[in-house]
Point group: C2
Chain length 368, copies 2
């Protein structure tokens, strides 16, 4: 029985048959065995997720959950709460980093106000599913009520279902929320048991004094919410954020639909970690896109046993790292799908007297 | 005066003005300062290469130089020499890994026979500029004569000039040649002074005994060619390959034309290293795409002081790693070009009462 107090869909296993078929094909493509490295494992993994032995992911969705954090008032961020709204407006205008990358990779972007402190006017073109005007300060008590956390998860499930109805082969988890690296650090500390100082970083760029303060805030959050940390749902409610809870819902719903879930950076990975804590069946559907510079990100990735595809020193969020990984995913799947096999190459070239030479590595024990 | 015994074009410096303009723009885009990590430095670098403060690289060229190696007869490769021709035919048919990736990233592919041992019939659609039917065995004497090496460099310069005439904003250095990781190891050992055992790897997948033999072959090559290793051109002729020399020519000609030169793996990086040894002005025009599993690749990258963008455990060559890096390059340049600045965002949103909040990080010294 799920610890989540709302109904969640059952999540299937990876399709072992599709993976075996993909692996078998990968091994007879015209290249040295294993020479495509991580791309080979990635393509086979996606075959297992989708249940298709030669999968492609043309329908790409980036879901950006936005929410504010009461803890931002503690001076834990380089930016004021107002910037969450500013950036949501940027997303709606199409001028932010994630909009540029979404266009580059052919992904559509859905921006959801699940907890922005400000009230966005109707003219701002985002999906309005506000559960609350930001969270409470997690350093003095639970960030969310259980009801708020459950509703935010429900919003994520709804949005993923809506996107699935439009066609969604792969979803990138993106987020915006000033203060949310503090929440993510608290979640990672609570789940992994690592000390706050090890999993708390500079977020968008705070100085040494602010970092000390941020670490103290995370310590206070763990202490004051100690009674709520005995199960993952209550941990999420106490230390998380509305956008983080919504991403939990996206991950669960997407996994249930055999959709590839591409994690962005620290916040999105913390959300995925909470989803896996609540339902371990989510884990096989995750692909880690990039390694951010936040120390807590590494801890969350290690806890999930995930190895990111890229390491470009990003620390922006929005889904930018996830979007950058989509061409790598597409490349891996195109190689699996479009490369010739030894047999095909042999058939197609009557002039080749030695068409299968690639299939037979020389294994001389001494020089000829 | 160049050590290369044929005329080579003068190579300009990076355009500092364009770089300053790009850096200035990058710093006022609507994101925390530096939050795009390596993408920011990459975009500024390309501004310097191209001389354009907001560069884009729509015209992408992958040049695959193919040549055989006499040393392949020493059992240093998992595959026989015949596979070079096989793979060149695959490239011409469009069914190899690099063809798939070229289509994915929108790059055209030029395959050049500069030294394949077999005689390719007219029906195989590759550029035929054969200098010799493969090199001599570098472990018993010079792989190439000085004349052959110079002619192969000239072929590379010609091909790059031809591609430039078709329009070329970025060029990926690709190669095919059974035995060429032995040549690359010998070049890297000669130039960096590292012991052969440190820079010699398993190539396409040889076993322990073959690896020992390969290391011994590299040691023999250095010893027997000792008299030729006092300058980079003669080193290239003695230890390199026709396709490696041709890539040297491509790098020089492309740099002279302010074209971004994207290195593939070990072989292409060894070629770029030789180009830089002969003309250090080439160095600023290089972008390292990926880190292959070959130990010598790391040594060559360190010698060039280059940090690759990707690390996906590839060991295929053909230009595949370089092609995979092109979407990262495009993304970096799209961000520089298309993101809104704070000023633009402020102008475009009359409703924003705090449109420049992002530009003013909070720097509280104590919680409010």
């Amino acid at each position: 029985m799920s610890v989540i107090p709302i109904p969640t869909p059952p999540i299937p296993l990876l399709d072992q048959g599709a993976m075996q078929e993909a692996r078998a094909r990968m091994d007879v493509l015209t290249k040295p065995l294993g020479s495509l490295g991580r791309l080979e494992r990635l393509a086979v993994h996606v075959a297992g997720i989708t249940g298709c032995p030669r999968p492609r992911l043309p329908r790409k969705s980036i879901i950006i959950m936005a929410g504010d954090h009461g803890v931002a008032a503690r001076g834990v961020s380089a930016y004021p709460t107002a910037v969450t709204e500013q950036m949501v407006r940027s997303f709606a205008r199409g001028t932010a980093a994630i909009n540029v990358l979404g266009r580059q990779v052919g992904a559509r972007i859905t921006v959801v106000d699940v907890g922005v402190a400000a009230t966005l006017p109707a003219s701002v073109n985002v999906v309005k599913r506000k559960v609350a005007h930001g969270t409470a300060d997690l350093s003095v008590g639970p960030a969310m009520t259980r009801d708020q956390a459950a509703r935010a998860i429900g919003v994520g499930m709804d949005i993923a279902a809506d996107e699935a109805a439009r066609g969604m082969d792969v979803v990138c988890l993106g987020e915006m929320g000033i203060g949310n690296s503090t929440a993510a650090s608290a979640l990672v500390a609570a789940v992994t048991g690592r000390p706050p100082a090890e999993v708390t970083g500079r977020g968008t760029g705070i100085d040494d004094r602010a970092l000390e303060r941020k670490i103290a805030v995370v310590q206070a959050a763990l202490a004051v919410n100690g009674a709520h940390l005995d199960n993952p749902f209550d941990t999420l409610a106490a230390l998380g954020g509305l956008e983080i809870a919504a991403l939990v819902g996206v991950a669960i719903e997407a996994a249930a639909r055999r959709t590839v879930v591409v994690l962005d950076g620290f916040i999105a990975t913390a959300a995925a970690m909470m989803a896996v804590e609540m339902d371990p069946a989510v884990r096989p559907f995750l692909v880690a896109a990039h390694r951010s510079v936040e120390p807590g990100h590494q801890a969350a990735l290690a806890h999930l046993d995930l190895e990111p595809l890229l390491a470009l020193d990003l620390r922006l969020g929005e889904g930018t790292g996830a979007a950058l990984a989509l061409p790598v995913l597409d490349a891996a799947l195109a190689l699996l799908d479009e490369m010739a096999t030894f047999a095909e190459a042999g058939v197609s070239t009557a002039n080749d007297t030695d068409a299968t030479a690639l299939a037979r590595p020389v294994s001389r024990s001494s020089p000829p």
